[in-house]
Symmetry: C2
Subunit: 261 residues, 2 copies
């Protein structure tokens, strides 16, 4: 496994890779968990070369403190990447990805970018699309892997790829969950033991005793002192964002009626 | 020469072109003149394949009437392209380039995008960068050709290419001028005989009797009843925009001191 923190070096390596090789790309912000591992495994099994990027993208954070305290576990990440047979890990610095700042950036007015995460995290998706576009062009992969947990992100990146004729195929991988149903997420590491238990109690209730009425779900959250930003259904998919302590947990389930009625 | 108005067909053709072939790309809005011809000649001489696009891009017009009345001379354009040995002419329709509108677009906050044309044509460069990005990815050329007349556009596209790691090299070709010094431009066809003469008188004065003081230049314009939006110097280059009738004429000259002092 080769670790590359210099964009020029990557360009040189990429230029020398044969066009016959299928390249899979997993973009991450590090603090890798079983969700990322699943994306990587899919890429390794479907391609000749797997490229993993680790870059905490400042432009997609609307909360400076969230950005500054985003969990970093680089040594563990490298160990996991190595175990999973990643070929290249790219860890660029901010100046490489945003020389002179973010003076040319993507903006989305898509209806699905102003609701849910787009509403509660203004300009978040502009930052996501901007960094993904840069990485799509830089890596020039055959396939790029996204997790179903961030379905809204997956959808908007799919739109980006379509509307800009990017040749990379986007692959959606199922959300990986703990036993309680809680999806793996880098931010989960910030939950206190007590918060984790409350969330697990909620997931156990939500996931294993479905379907519920939304009112029942909201009552349960109230009892557990878990707040929420939204519960919304789009395209027969139920999306929600929970808030506990300083942490937001986002999730979604297809076939909404299986969960709420 | 092959004329392609279907993006899918182009993608198929592009996918079958050998990677050993050098591809040159000349993006235009049609109504081709000697300036375009010079870009095409450069491309044909420097590449194995030359692709010309003709697409009047709605998102870069801030004036609907200017867009609706943009001159169209498709038959003549094809004839010229054929004479100059263009290999592929791509003439996509609006729905192909902007399906569902312009929901994901590029925005520039670069200091050089809010002055001059950026100031007088708000959001013009956002539209330029958006369509150029789509075309850069779609054509996937080795070189893309821009004219020095639109130097501000060239500069911002260069920034786009750098900041998004696009592998296409941007080539700047010198402005092609009529005998009077007036640069060739598609919009010149809209000048009345009288307006054309006034402009030529100005260019003769400006171009052949340099250097002048800016005051002298502005006096001359006043006498000729030609208005202007700006005369500005950036990076030792003098930029100006003249207005006569409904037409704007933009131009620029390096080594500003040769023209004004």
């Amino acid at each position: 496994m080769k670790i590359i923190n210099n964009i020029k070096e990557w360009k040189k390596i990429r230029g020398n890779l044969s066009d016959d090789l299928k390249i899979g790309f997993v973009p991450t912000m590090g603090c890798l968990h079983q969700g990322h591992a699943s994306l990587i495994k899919n890429s390794v099994s479907q391609n000749d070369i797997t490229v993993l990027s680790i870059f905490v993208n400042p432009t997609q954070f609307n909360d400076l403190s969230d950005y500054q305290h985003y969990p970093k576990t680089l040594d563990d990440d490298m160990e996991l990447a190595r175990q999973l047979n990643v070929d290249y890990v790219i860890t660029p610095d901010i100046d490489s990805m945003y020389p002179d700042g973010n003076q040319i950036h993507l903006v989305t007015d898509h209806p699905l970018s102003s609701v849910m995460e787009g509403y509660y995290r203004p300009k978040h998706f502009n930052g996501v699309l901007t960094i993904v576009m840069k990485l799509l062009i830089l890596i020039h992969a055959n396939k790029i892997y996204f997790g179903e947990k961030d379905y809204q992100q997956y959808f908007l990146v799919s739109e980006l790829i379509k509307k800009y004729f990017v040749k990379t195929e986007i692959i959606l991988c199922p959300t990986v969950r703990e036993l309680s149903g809680l999806p793996f997420s880098s931010r989960n590491t910030k939950l206190s033991i007590n918060e984790k238990q409350l969330i697990e109690t909620f997931y156990d209730f939500f996931y294993n005793h479905r379907p519920h009425s939304l009112n029942l779900i909201k009552e349960k959250l109230l009892k557990l002192k878990i707040q929420y930003d939204y519960f919304e259904t789009h395209d027969d998919r139920l999306f929600f964002a929970l808030k506990i302590g300083s942490i937001r947990i986002i999730d979604n389930f297809k076939e909404a009626a299986l969960y709420v009625n």
